[in-house]
Amino acid sequence: MLGFLTRTRGRRRADLTDWLAWGFLLLGVLLMLGPVLWIVLSSFKTEAALQEYPPTLLPLATETVVVEGHAEPLPLFRVTEGEHAGRVLAQVRRVGLVAQMIDPADPATRIDVNIAAREPVREVDVATENYTTLFSRFNFLLYFWNSTFITVVATILTVLFNSMAAFALSKYKFRGRTVVFLLIIATLMIPPTINLVPIFLVVSQLGLVNSPWGVIWPAIATPTGVFLLRQYMLTIPDDLLDAARMDHASEWRVYWRIVMPLSAPALAVLVLFSVMWRWNEFLWPLIVLNRAEEFTLQLALNSFQGELQTSWSNLLAMTVLTLLPITIVFAVLQKYITQGIAQAGVK
């Protein structure tokens, strides 16, 4: 790994191109991972820390101490100037520009310090309550289940329907085959926003409003999926299908036992796309699902943003949890995608 990272262009020391490559790649990493890292770190900040200016990278909070005679824990400050410089004191209250402070070891004596002459003692404080309240106060698991159900079912149906259409369009010769294919592709040219109203009318006529099926059914027939799979299936030799037919295989078995396994790389790509589309979909569920108990994660996230106030800490925590499954799916499937591309390249 280290050898790989420190590999240089020439045989000797790092060349200018090495520095440029490194710089470019680092910039890329920063651009890609920076926002994600920012969200993850911020999701562990308390609401107060989130409001802080200037913002800190790590989730920091002022250290507190419990002092006899005071009900609330008192924040600790380090005095920077004046006669008490260097001492760590607990602040009782602030009056104007003066902070009234006490030494936790000697709570009886009051010390007045100018607020400019002290700085808070900070420690890394991970606000896990951002996450726990998602489960206790908000019904995170319900939204998670709604999203998962829609994503899984829609993906299975998408793969099934699209692959059957692609199989017919790539392996059967029938009158109007090209026309059908072009029609399917042509739907790519229609912006989705134009379809919203007609599809909503159909969905509401079918009584699917406020049902996950109202999100699933309109989504499963994707021209992209049909196109992707058809192009891949064209590369499967017809002889294989003929051989299977000679082997007494019905057309269904030809599809299921020969064409589907051989299309695995293209199917993996479609699964990945479909999972991303359905998981991240926002506009259509927003229209179809109005009841809070049918909300997907994306809709729940949206509902955190109130008209008057936004619970940023919970919003960020939920965002992180929403990102996780799709990251895992991508990590698992990306191997098959590169495999598929590599195989297609060799053949």
Partner: protein
């Protein structure tokens, strides 16, 4: 038992007719080879028999039963493809089992049939490998094994050896012929290689442009080709052809003369030919004698000495090219002028009009030299 009968089979692609009414009978247990130049329709004909191509017109009968409307899977045939068409995502064992699983053969039965086929084709060591891990010859054997385990009524082979190198091709040729001897099934074999056809077939069907030119036993086609096309196609190196004019026609045969004035005699039945008619004279390379005192003078342009045989490529002054095949070795050198002679009894004569062969008066190798 499987006897095939093709009655007036026709295949149309949109508005192009590729098979023009083929009539053929293939007796049970026959090794029948379809041979012809590429694009002659031999593979199409095979796929029509297999059920992979629709039959536009005519009847296909297997054991007297019309099967035009039956699907490929219902006809009880097995096919070996030129590209092997092994399922790449399955192991050899799964490849062999696939067809049997489809007809719900009991597990133990599948096992025993695979074991039997693997033993016969020496595949035991590879049963758990994927096709991509096998060599060309091994893949070919798996493809044959897949046909064998099904115990089909008829085996169909679509140019199965064309992807193999020359040496392997000879070996596999022997194995397929051996398989036919052991199983005794009817087999139909498509090839464009007339050597394969000659060495393996009980019956050769020569096709051209969707029509049968001639069908018969290999030596019958060799000795009595029905027309100029079959004569040119069967036999390697090709038969030499000379365009001639009939000088005299008697019951004994024809006296011919070519454009350069060379004279030839041909022992064929004249069949109504009269002096002045144009004909094509055909001479097999092995029937030419080179280096004697008689005959026409030609220049030897190239010699291939194989040790046991030699081939001489000769050219006459007027450009007439002749190939001669001699047994053994020859002392003739490249560039020498030699005399080529020809025994009239071996002559093949074809009418210039339609290429039909005239009947030879004496046929075959019984002819005195």
């Amino acid at each position: 038992m499987a006897r095939l009968e093709l009655r007036g089979l026709v295949k149309d692609y949109v508005d192009l007719r590729t098979i023009h009414g083929v009539d053929l009978e293939i007796e049970d247990g026959t090794f029948c080879v379809f041979v012809g130049p590429s694009g002659c329709g031999k593979s199409t004909l095979l796929r029509m028999i297999a059920g992979l191509e629709e039959i536009t017109d005519g009847d296909l009968l297997i054991d007297g039963q019309r099967v035009n409307e039956q699907r490929a899977s219902e006809r009880g045939l097995a096919m070996v493809f030129q590209t092997y068409a092994l399922y790449p995502h399955m192991t050899v064992r799964q490849n062999l089992a696939f067809g049997l699983e489809n007809i719900k053969t009991p597990k133990p039965e599948i096992e025993s049939r695979i074991a039997e086929a693997a033993r016969m084709l020496q595949l035991e060591a590879y049963l758990d490998r994927r096709p991509t891990q096998l060599s060309g010859g091994q893949r070919q054997r798996v493809a044959i094994g897949r046909a064998v385990v099904r115990e089909p009524r008829v085996f169909l082979f679509d140019e199965p050896l064309s992807n193999l190198d020359a040496e392997l091709r000879v070996t596999m040729r022997g194995e397929i012929a051996d398989l036919h001897r052991r199983l005794g099934n009817t087999m139909i074999y498509v090839t464009h290689d007339q050597v394969e056809a000659m060495t393996m077939a009980d019956k050769i069907v020569v096709l051209r442009a969707g029509r049968i030119e001639q069908a018969g036993a290999p030596l019958d086609l060799y000795n009595t080709p029905a027309n100029r096309f079959v004569a040119g196609f069967i036999g390697s190196p090709r038969m030499n052809f000379v365009t001639c004019t009939v000088e005299t026609a008697t019951a004994e045969g024809l006296a011919l003369r070519d454009a350069a004035g060379r004279r030839y005699l041909a022992g064929v039945v004249p069949d109504g030919l009269t002096p002045g008619d144009k004909v094509e004279l055909g001479m097999r390379p092995e029937h030419l004698r080179v280096g004697g005192e008689e005959g026409h003078a030609v220049e030897v342009q190239a010699i291939e000495q194989l040790g046991g045989d030699c081939y001489l490529y000769c050219r006459a002054e007027d450009g007439l090219a002749l190939t001669a095949h001699l047994s053994g070795q020859t002392g003739i050198r490249r560039g020498e002028v030699a005399r080529i002679a020809f025994d009239p009894a071996y002559a093949h004569v074809f009418t210039a009009a339609d290429g039909a062969a005239l009947r030879r008066r004496v046929v075959g190798e019984a002819v005195p030299a």
